[in-house]
Structure formats: structure tokens, C-alpha cells
């Protein structure tokens, strides 16, 4: 599980490097980008093959190559919060109206609002986030979750109290506090992400833990119709969400990595799509005179992005969407 975490981080860093290489003096270095793309591929393989589900891995707080400790990230690091049982007050913070535009999909891959994970937002929910994180440890994969069907609100909330007592699996999300919140919140309606384990615990059901629908825009969305008892704490995350510029929405792809892509795209900005456009044959693909045709762009372009992006179909799909 740490591998998945690590893999995600490495993917973020790698994409940041590829992006930054565009503006480096002297043109894009083929060798370095090739190595970065190999790392990207390895990390992606690990990420996909790791059976640990439920990783709403938030990207770094707005930086392409984020340091392990995100600034303004109060719930720093997964291990920090794991020991804390979710306080009831925090749980009350969970319920939130669902963002209307967010499609109702399982695993709406935590399009983590990376840049949005602000300290302010997280602070009040810090502990809840931690709890959510712990809850994530028990969240099951999309398929299993789907199989279970949408949990009841109580069921969703059961994940909460359950988690801290449950063996804390080290597959927690690293940073985005909001991710964790969203992740942990089980949607009464349609959220199949956070299917609580059948042995949902004995803890009293917390007051309407409103599951959070996470779209590409990510955090803060709860399923529609979810009561919001703790409206006051909710305003903060919602505000942050609205403050987010350029939060694009995912098309609700089933897979996790799409959300992460959208997440990462928020790091790179909309110009990331330009990255793809150039490498996919538009723009300047000329090389020395005699070579032409379908060859990928010369070092002046992003030679390696093609193999990279092509390998990551969901990624490129999401990117193209922008």
C-alpha cells in the first residue's frame, strides 16, 4: 500500500518533470524524458496492480514536484491521523450537498483538488480527515463496492467508527484532506466507493454522515439529498471548492487514475492539453528535411510523451478532454 502511495507521488513528480522540460533551455532532452517516462510507466504499473483499493490520492498542493510534506497540509501524512478516532463533531462535518455537476459514479476517482487543499479547509476537518483516511483503509474496490450497492447512510457512516478500530491498513491517502473526507463519506444514494465492510461496527451511527460524491472537481460534493446537519463546518470546504479556478470535471470515468489525472492537470494548468496537442501530430512535428511522416516529434517536441501518454489511456482521455 505504501507502494501505491509512493507510486502516485512518483507519477505526479514525473509528469511535472515532463511538463517542465518543455520550458527548459536547450530544448527537450530526449534521454532524460525517456528515463522519466520509464519511471512513470513503472509507477503506473505498480499503482494499477496494487490491490489496495480506495486510494484517493491527492496530488501535491499545486506544485508539480511536490515535497512529501505539503505546505498548508495540516493532516500531514497518513500515519499522523490514523490513530485518531473520528470525533463526532467532525463526523457531523461530513454531510454536504452533492455538487450538482458531479456524475454519480463509483470511485469517482478522487479528482483531488490538489491545489485546493488549503490549510483553512482542512483544519476543521483535520481530524475527520484522518478518520476518513483510516476509513479508507477499509474501503473496497469499485467492483466490490458496486456489488454491495449503495450503502445506507448508516452503513456509510459505519465506515467511520469502524475504521479506527479496524486494522489500519497503510493504504491511506497522503495529502488531500478533502479527498479523505470525500473518500470516507459513504453516499447513501449511489456511492459505492465506500462500501463499509459487512462487519460494520457497533459504534452508534453518527449523525447523517453524508457521503461525498467526488467528481473531478472533487471534494466537497456529497450525494444529493444528503442532509447536512453540520452546515457550518461545511461551508468552508465548499467555499474552497468554489474558489478553485479551473476545476474541470471528469467525465466520470470509472477508473481511479482518471481522477488523478484531472488532479494533476490542475497542477499543470490547461496548457497541459497543449502538451498533448503538439505531440499528437499537430503543431511542429517537422524534423530534419528528409524525415517526415508519423514519426513523433523531434527533440524540440516532446518525444516521449507519446509513448507515455499512449500507455495511459485514461490519462490521455482525460487530458484531451481539456
Amino acid at each position: 500500500m505504501e507502494f501505491k502511495l509512493e507510486a502516485h507521488r512518483i507519477v505526479s513528480i514525473s509528469l511535472g518533470k515532463i511538463y517542465n522540460s518543455r520550458v527548459q533551455r536547450g530544448g527537450i532532452k530526449l534521454h532524460k524524458n525517456l528515463l522519466v517516462s520509464l519511471v512513470l510507466r513503472s509507477a503506473r504499473q505498480v499503482y494499477l496492480s496494487d490491490p489496495c483499493p480506495g486510494l484517493y490520492l491527492a496530488g501535491p498542493a499545486g506544485t508539480p514536484a511536490p515535497p512529501p510534506q505539503q505546505p498548508g497540509e495540516p493532516a500531514a501524512g497518513p500515519p499522523a491521523g490514523w490513530g485518531e478516532p473520528p470525533p463526532p463533531a467532525a463526523r457531523a462535518a461530513w454531510p454536504e450537498p452533492e455538487r450538482p455537476a458531479v456524475p454519480d459514479a463509483p470511485w469517482v476517482g478522487g479528482a483531488e483538488p490538489t491545489a485546493t487543499v488549503t490549510g483553512a479547509a482542512d483544519a476543521p476537518q483535520g481530524r475527520a480527515a484522518d478518520a476518513a483516511e483510516a476509513a479508507w483503509g477499509r474501503v473496497e474496490g469499485p467492483r466490490e463496492a458496486a456489488a454491495r450497492g449503495a450503502g445506507s447512510p448508516a452503513g456509510g457512516s459505519d465506515a467511520f467508527p469502524e475504521a479506527p478500530q479496524a486494522a489500519r491498513r497503510p493504504c491511506a491517502c497522503p495529502s488531500g484532506g478533502e479527498d479523505r473526507r470525500g473518500a470516507a463519506a459513504a453516499s447513501p444514494g449511489a456511492d459505492r466507493r465506500c462500501a463499509p465492510p459487512p462487519s460494520a461496527d457497533e459504534s452508534p451511527a453518527p449523525p447523517a454522515v453524508c457521503p461525498r460524491k467526488r467528481g473531478a472537481a472533487g471534494v466537497g460534493g456529497g450525494p444529493a439529498g444528503c442532509p447536512a446537519p453540520g452546515s457550518t463546518p461545511l461551508k468552508k470546504p465548499r467555499r474552497n471548492l468554489e474558489e478553485q479556478p479551473g476545476r474541470e470535471e471528469d467525465d466520470g470515468a470509472e477508473e481511479m487514475e482518471t481522477g488523478n489525472v484531472a488532479n494533476l492537470i490542475s497542477i499543470f494548468g490547461s496548457s497541459f492539453s497543449g502538451l498533448l496537442r503538439k505531440s499528437s501530430g499537430g503543431g511542429r512535428e517537422e524534423e530534419e528535411g528528409e524525415e517526415s511522416g508519423p514519426e513523433a516529434a523531434e527533440p524540440g517536441q516532446i518525444c516521449c510523451d507519446k509513448p507515455v501518454l499512449r500507455d495511459m489511456n485514461p490519462w490521455s482521455t482525460a487530458i484531451v478532454a481539456f
Partner: protein, 444 residues
């Protein structure tokens, strides 16, 4: 005895282009002794070449034997712009290679990412005087005023060292040139970029032969690039090139015009227990060097130096750990880009000792015979003239002794990528960012 040279300084006699010194442009990017060791050339990120010359020994100053002083400085490459691709071409000198001396002048090749240049460095210590048609200042004289004829004579003048570009080999590389190597026939040389190697004749600048081309038809299938290439020191038909996958190919140009098929293929099987996300990066070879004997090749990857016997392809005969303590830090080194640093390696004149650089301004020497190794540091504090370099040690855990340095205290911005060893004596040149250090054996 230890000499320290000050940071590079465009103070020398001949400087065709004066540029305002900026800290970044002084970063040394290549160091190379010539074939006799009399001259030492350095190239920097600003496109300049500075050549040092060894002082002749004098009886009066025995302890100043063999000091290197600046001999010539010139601007080799300028930043350029490729309009077709909207790319800036860096002026950084990637490699310098000397030609063997055949007359009074010195010749060297210097290259940036795209263009190789042949420079002639010559001395002028006389100048003609007594022209008939020109006066002393060079102004033309009215022929009508000339009543007598005289023969111009050469009179001594202050020594002037001039560097002139004799050949410019351009427009032959689509990718970034990483190596140049002069052939033992002294008539040809090769230049290698990420995907191709070209063979040039010194006299012909508008054509080159492509001898290696590993570019796939579909760039998406690209899996490896060429990282370094070198000609065999004695066999003019043989050369090697290393790849980003940790392999070395030896090619014979007699076999075919395009040496896409190697004659020998050197690869060590990967140790599966060391597998990580970064296995591929750290196995990428950053430098390959033939031994002076031509019998061995040495390769440098991120953590090790390996010596290969040309007669054995399946594994190296020797492997030296340069800084294995970094193996657990690869992720951080990936983040800060240090994992992409390309360290070079060098043989000493007798092929008995190999040297390579590390971080924190450390460099390492390995004695192949005694199997002893030493870590030394190139820094101003430790390098007073005539002081003896003290061996350094990196503490890899456990109790740190007094003069050891812990891995976490290493300064990764101080890296020694480029070093050179005098061809016959124990004099080494070590480039530490923008400082050049020259060390030599203690002389009793």
C-alpha cells in the same frame, strides 16, 4: 602538493568576445588533458574554453614544479536559435577532445549540443616590421612617397596565444550531442547524439557518415538512447557506445557501413533484488572510456563504476561502489533531479587506478590492483597549497565518527561530474561546479 586555481576568469591574452561574467556561465562542463599533459582544457556552460599550460620546471622554484596557468581563453560556442523548431541551442560545451600535436600549433575539438568545432591554438611571439606599403600603425602609405625598399623583419613581441576556428561541423545532429571521439588515424572523428553516431573527416565539414542509427521507425517504440561513445585507442575500425539501458556495444566499421549490428554486446544481468522504480535510471551509463591499453572499458552508471574486459561480454570483471549509500535515497534524488547527473570516469596513465566523482565535492579513486579506494574532497578549506588531501569518509549509519560525514549532510548541489587524469603523471584535474582543482602526487 596541491594547487588550487581560482575560478575561471576571462583575463587571458586572447579573448575574441568579451562577455560579462555571470555565475552560471562559469560552471565547468568538461575537462581534458592533451596527449602530453602539458595542456589542460576546460569548457564551461557559457560556451567558453579555457586552456591551462603547465609551467616548465625551473631550478629556481622547485616546489612550484608543474603549476598550471591560464594559457588561452576563447569563446567557442555562442547560444543559437533554431528557428525551424523554435528551440534555443545551448552554448554549453559538452566535450573537448584534443588532437595529437603534429606541429607547433595545438588543435582541439569542442562541441555543444549541435555543432562541433575544430580550434587551432597557436602562439605568436614575433611580428613583422618594416613593411613598405604600410606604416608602423598599419596605415597605407602613398606609393608615390616610397623612395627605398626594405625587407620586413620579424621582431619579438609579447607572447600572444590565439585561437581560431578552423572547421565548423554543423547541422548533422537532430538530437543533443553527448560525445566526440578522435580516431587513432587522426583523420576522422565521431560525434554521437542520443540516437545517431556520425563519422567525420577533419577536412570535410559539409558531409558526415552516419555509422550508427538506433532511431526506431516509430518514436513511440523508443526504449533506449546512446549515452556515450568512444573510439578504440589503437584500432581505428573499432568503437564502443553505451546506452541508457546499461549496455555497451562494440562495433567494427569494417563489418558494414552502418554499424547497427554490434560485434560485441556487453550487458550485466540485473540483480532482481535491487529492483525499484528507479532501476532503469541508475543503470543508464553516463560515461564509457577505453583503457589506455585498449583491453578494457570502464563504464559509469549512477552508483557504480564497472570495468569490462573486451573479451568477456556477459559481465564486468570489476565493479566498484561509488556511493552505494544513495541507493536508499533514490526517490529524493529523483525529485531533485540529481539522479540524472552524469558522472564521468577516468583511467590513470597505467590503467591501474580509476577515478570518478560524487557529491559533496567528493571524488573517489579505486586502485584496481590493491583493491583499495579513497574518497577525497575538493574544497577550498581543505586545499591549501602544499597541503595533503585527507581521505574522507561517509558514515552510513550507526555511530558517526568525528570526521565522518553523514549521508544526510551531503551537499547534493556540489557534485563532481568531470575529472581528468594526466596521461603519464599523477596529476588530476577536478571540476567542482565553477572551480577547477588540480592535485598532484606528493613530491618529497
Amino acid at each position: 602538493m596541491v594547487h588550487i586555481l581560482p575560478p575561471l576568469n576571462p583575463c587571458q591574452t586572447y579573448c575574441p568576445l568579451i562577455t560579462a561574467p555571470q555565475p552560471r556561465t562559469d560552471i565547468i562542463s568538461t575537462v581534458e588533458f592533451n596527449h602530453t599533459g602539458e595542456l589542460l582544457a576546460t569548457g564551461d556552460k557559457g560556451g567558453r574554453v579555457v586552456i591551462f599550460q603547465r609551467e616548465q620546471e625551473s631550478k629556481n622554484q622547485v616546489h612550484r614544479r608543474g603549476e598550471y596557468n591560464v594559457y588561452s581563453t576563447f569563446q567557442s560556442h555562442e547560444p543559437e536559435f533554431d528557428y525551424l523548431k523554435s528551440l534555443e541551442i545551448e552554448e554549453k560545451i559538452n566535450k573537448i577532445r584534443w588532437l595529437p600535436q603534429q606541429n607547433a600549433a595545438y588543435f582541439l575539438l569542442s562541441t555543444n549540443d549541435k555543432t562541433v568545432k575544430l580550434w587551432k591554438v597557436s602562439e605568436r611571439d614575433k611580428r613583422p616590421e618594416g613593411y613598405n606599403l604600410k606604416d608602423e600603425e598599419g596605415r597605407l602609405r602613398d606609393p608615390a612617397t616610397i623612395t627605398t625598399l626594405r625587407v620586413p623583419v620579424l621582431r619579438p613581441m609579447d607572447l600572444m596565444v590565439e585561437a581560431t576556428p578552423r572547421r565548423v561541423f554543423a547541422n548533422a545532429h537532430t538530437y543533443h550531442i553527448n560525445s566526440i571521439s578522435v580516431n587513432s588515424d587522426y583523420e576522422t572523428y565521431m560525434s554521437a547524439d542520443d540516437l545517431r553516431i556520425n563519422l567525420w573527416n577533419f577536412e570535410i565539414t559539409n558531409q558526415s557518415f552516419n555509422i550508427v542509427d538506433i532511431k526506431p521507425a516509430n518514436m513511440e517504440e523508443l526504449t533506449e538512447v546512446i549515452t556515450a561513445a568512444e573510439f578504440h585507442p589503437h584500432h581505428c575500425n573499432t568503437f564502443v557506445y553505451s546506452s541508457s539501458k546499461g549496455t555497451i556495444r562494440l562495433c567494427d566499421m569494417r563489418a558494414s557501413a552502418l554499424c547497427d549490428r554490434h560485434t560485441k554486446f556487453f550487458e550485466e544481468p540485473e540483480d532482481p533484488s535491487n529492483r525499484s522504480f528507479f532501476s532503469e535510471i541508475i543503470s543508464s551509463i553516463s560515461d564509457v572510456k577505453f583503457s589506455h591499453s585498449g583491453r578494457y572499458i570502464m563504464t559509469r552508471d549512477y552508483l557504480t563504476v564497472k570495468v569490462w574486459d573486451l573479451n568477456m561480454e556477459n559481465r564486468p570483471i570489476e565493479t566498484y561502489q561509488v556511493h552505494d549509500y544513495l541507493r536508499s535515497k533514490l526517490c529524493s534524488l529523483y525529485e531533485n533531479d540529481c539522479i540524472f547527473d552524469k558522472f564521468e570516469c577516468v583511467w590513470n596513465g597505467s590503467d591501474s587506478v580509476i577515478m570518478t566523482g560524487s557529491y559533496n565535492n567528493f571524488f573517489r579513486m579505486f586502485d584496481r590492483n590493491t583493491k583499495r579506494d579513497v574518497t577525497l574532497e575538493a574544497s577550498r578549506e581543505n586545499s591549501k597549497p602544499r597541503a595533503i588531501l585527507k581521505p574522507r569518509k561517509v558514515c552510513v549509519g550507526g555511530k558517526r565518527r568525528k570526521d565522518e560525514i553523514s549521508v544526510d549532510s551531503l551537499d547534493f548541489s556540489k557534485k563532481i561530474l568531470h575529472t581528468a587524469w594526466h596521461p603519464s603523471e599523477n596529476i588530476i584535474a577536478v571540476a567542482a561546479t565553477n572551480n577547477l582543482y588540480i592535485f598532484q602526487d606528493k613530491v618529497n
